[in-house]
């Protein structure tokens, strides 16, 4: 028989008992849409996490000084600090894959102002810093390049510092003394919460880099350089570019080891995606169970159908159908049922995803691959659970089948 005829016969017998076919397919419809929606929710969550990490600055690349190597004795990280503003300027001028760059001149000190005093970190940075860290201001304003050139004594406070020094007043416009040097508060950062290692991001004061270098840390070297790449997928390329610029800047010969370290946030992204991946797999397998149950439903109905249509099978055999013809006929019916269920299931999942995205705060993101996978599964289930009933039908003896009442 031609494929076209087989399909026609299968569709016809499915359409003969519409209600039953619909109920049978319902198992697959629910199974497929459950799998697709669950995976879509998982993928949606992952997308959200990725976006959130990006907002924390996933494009962030940190360059820190490397280890010293003097006479064969290697010191720890940061023991050999040669970062200067020259490095920063060179990167700024030569790098093509970066969006922003800021030196970080780190210093600790006692801060006096407002209601008391408080020991905190003071970071000297450039105006790019807020953008690099995706860290908006809560109020006031940030310092500018002019403040850096003029070495202005202005600063921006983290919320933790505000809480300790100005619990009741507006800090903007107030004077604080950092290690006896007076600074004018011009802005307050938005609360950012904990860092990945558990310390507070908000216990910090930001001031112009050169002011901090001259007035507080009293040296000429920079603690680290923070850079943001143009996009997270260009992060690797940006790092390679930074590396060659830094090597050139430090005049390292080809055999010499780097005297700096470049890191990005990909490990953090990876950990977060891993979590949501595990969640997706878990949800999908639970939904997958319902797909299998749907398959068992198909098998059940096909078995009933074979018994019910024993006489029809007998007639077909008596007029010359081979056992393989009968097998193919019933198998095709099972596959048509499950694939139809698959199509309706996918359509249903699109509707559910639409509702989730528009009427709840849940994000569902249906990837094209998952639709193909769901279809593949529906078809495989049709074959797997349709085979046993089909083989049972094909094994019938024509005489017994014809006599069957």
């Amino acid at each position: 028989m031609q494929a076209k005829v087989i399909l026609k016969v299968a569709t016809k017998s499915i359409m003969k008992s519409r209600m039953r076919s619909l109920l049978t397919a319902l198992g697959i419809i629910i199974g497929v849409s459950a799998v697709v929606v669950m995976v879509a929710i998982g993928d949606g969550a992952q997308l959200k996490v990725e976006q959130q990490i990006a907002s924390l600055g996933s494009n962030l690349i940190i360059i820190t000084p490397g280890a010293s190597n003097t006479g064969g004795v290697r010191g720890g990280s940061g023991t050999f600090n040669r970062f200067t503003f020259d490095d920063v300027d060179k990167i700024k001028n030569e790098a093509t894959l970066i969006k922003g760059i800021s030196p970080v001149v780190s210093s600790r000190g006692q801060v006096i102002g407002g209601v008391g005093n408080w020991s905190t970190t003071i970071n000297g940075v450039s105006p790019d810093y807020l953008d690099i860290r995706a860290w908006p201001l809560q109020s006031g304003e940030f310092f500018t390049d002019r403040d850096i050139m003029a070495r202005s004594k202005v600063c921006v406070l983290g919320t933790e510092v505000v809480k300790n020094l100005f619990p009741n007043d507006d800090p903007i416009g107030q004077l604080i003394r950092i290690r006896s040097v007076p600074f004018k508060v011009i802005g307050v950062l938005k609360e950012k919460g904990q860092t990945s290692v558990g310390t507070s991001n908000d216990d910090v004061i930001l001031a112009p880099s050169k002011t901090v270098l001259d007035r507080l840390s009293g040296g000429k070297f920079i603690s680290s350089i923070q850079v943001s790449s143009v996009s997270s997928d260009r992060s690797d390329a940006a790092q390679a570019e930074l590396k060659s610029i830094m090597r050139e800047s430090h005049k390292l010969t080809p055999g010499e080891a780097d005297d700096f370290t470049i890191r990005d946030q990909s490990d953090l992204t990876e950990a977060a995606t891993q979590t949501s991946k595990v969640l997706t797999i878990l949800l999908a397998s639970v939904a997958g169970v319902s797909l299998v149950v749907g398959g068992i439903g198909i098998m059940n109905i096909m078995l009933v159908s074979v018994t019910e249509r024993t006489r029809e099978i007998g007639i077909r055999l008596s007029i010359g159908a081979r056992a393989s013809d009968i097998l193919i006929q019933f198998l095709t019916e099972a596959i048509v049922l499950s694939l139809t269920g698959g199509i309706i299931g996918v359509l249903l999942s699109f509707i559910i995803a639409f509702i989730l995205n528009h009427y709840t705060d849940q994000t569902a993101y249906i990837k094209p691959q998952i639709i193909m996978i769901a279809f593949g599964f529906a078809g495989a289930i049709g074959i797997f659970f349709g085979f046993y009933p089909a083989r049972k039908a094909a094994a019938l003896n024509p005489i017994d089948a014809l006599r069957y009442e």
């Binding site: 003969k16 029809e312 007639i315 055999l317 008596s318 081979r322 013809d325 005489i399 014809l402």
Partner: protein, 249 residues
């Protein structure tokens, strides 16, 4: 030899019921030539249905040989059996055995669907011709439940004819029909036989057996009598008689 459609040599069928062998057919030798109209008669249990199943290649003999249209079927595989049923035999059953909720035309097309040789180019045209031959040209899109018993049996006959088989096998073809309709169906059988088609039928009514040309009587799995009918009934005339009787009554 070319004219022989059926030839059985010591055809034997034994059913196993538990440990006991139940012989249903004991070394039957029958030869049926082309164009014959044979009625196989016998009480139930005489082996006529078993013989019918073997002749129809629905079942395989325990021993003996069966030559159908010159082919020894005893050595064939299950698939070849299926192909023989499709190519060489047309079945007509007592219970019509049409597919329910399927039109007359589709029922008649059914054997052509399993035609592996693809010798028929236009199944639909061929099926309509077969239905015209049994006088149902105006009923081709009716489903069995919209047809009378006689019409259903004629659809079955068209289905048996559509593949131009060497042989039409009819198992109690009028067992479910009243006598007037039965005569009508026999009229068709005789007409087809006159056109040269070989017909073998099983019946237990002697009146209907007289529409055939030859009677084979069976008992206990053996052929006990095999003779030609001298005063053969003409179904057409019988039908006219019945119609006339009905008028008088």
């Amino acid at each position: 030899m070319e004219n022989i459609v059926i030839k059985t040599v010591k055809l034997t069928k034994t059913y196993k019921v538990g440990d006991i062998d139940v012989p249903a057919l004991k070394a039957v030798d029958i030869t049926i030539e082309k164009g014959e109209f044979v009625a196989i008669m016998g009480a139930s249990g005489s082996g006529k249905s078993t013989l019918m199943n073997l002749l129809g290649c629905l079942d395989m003999p325990t021993s003996g040989d069966y030559f159908l249209d010159g082919v020894n079927t005893s050595k064939l595989s299950k698939n070849e059996y299926a192909d023989i049923r499709n190519q060489k035999i047309g079945f007509v059953f007592q219970g019509f055995n049409l597919l329910a909720r399927t039109t007359a035309l589709e029922n008649v097309e059914l054997p052509l669907m399993y035609d592996r040789l693809g010798k028929i180019k236009d199944p639909q045209k061929k099926s309509i011709e077969a239905l015209e031959r049994v006088g149902l040209a105006d009923r081709i899109h009716h489903i069995p439940s919209q047809l009378s018993g006689g019409q259903q049996q004629r659809v079955a006959l068209a289905r048996a004819l559509v593949n131009s088989p060497a042989l039409i096998l009819a198992d109690e073809p009028t067992g479910n029909l009243d006598s007037k309709t039965s005569v009508e169906v026999f009229q068709l059988f005789q007409q087809l036989n006159n056109e040269g088609i070989t017909v073998v039928m099983v019946t237990h009514e002697r009146d209907f057996a007289s529409f055939a040309k030859r009677i084979v009587e069976m008992r206990d799995g053996k052929v006990i009598r095999d003779y030609l009918i001298k005063d053969r009934l003409n179904a057409e005339e019988e039908f006219k008689k019945i119609a006339a009787d009905a008028l008088i009554a």
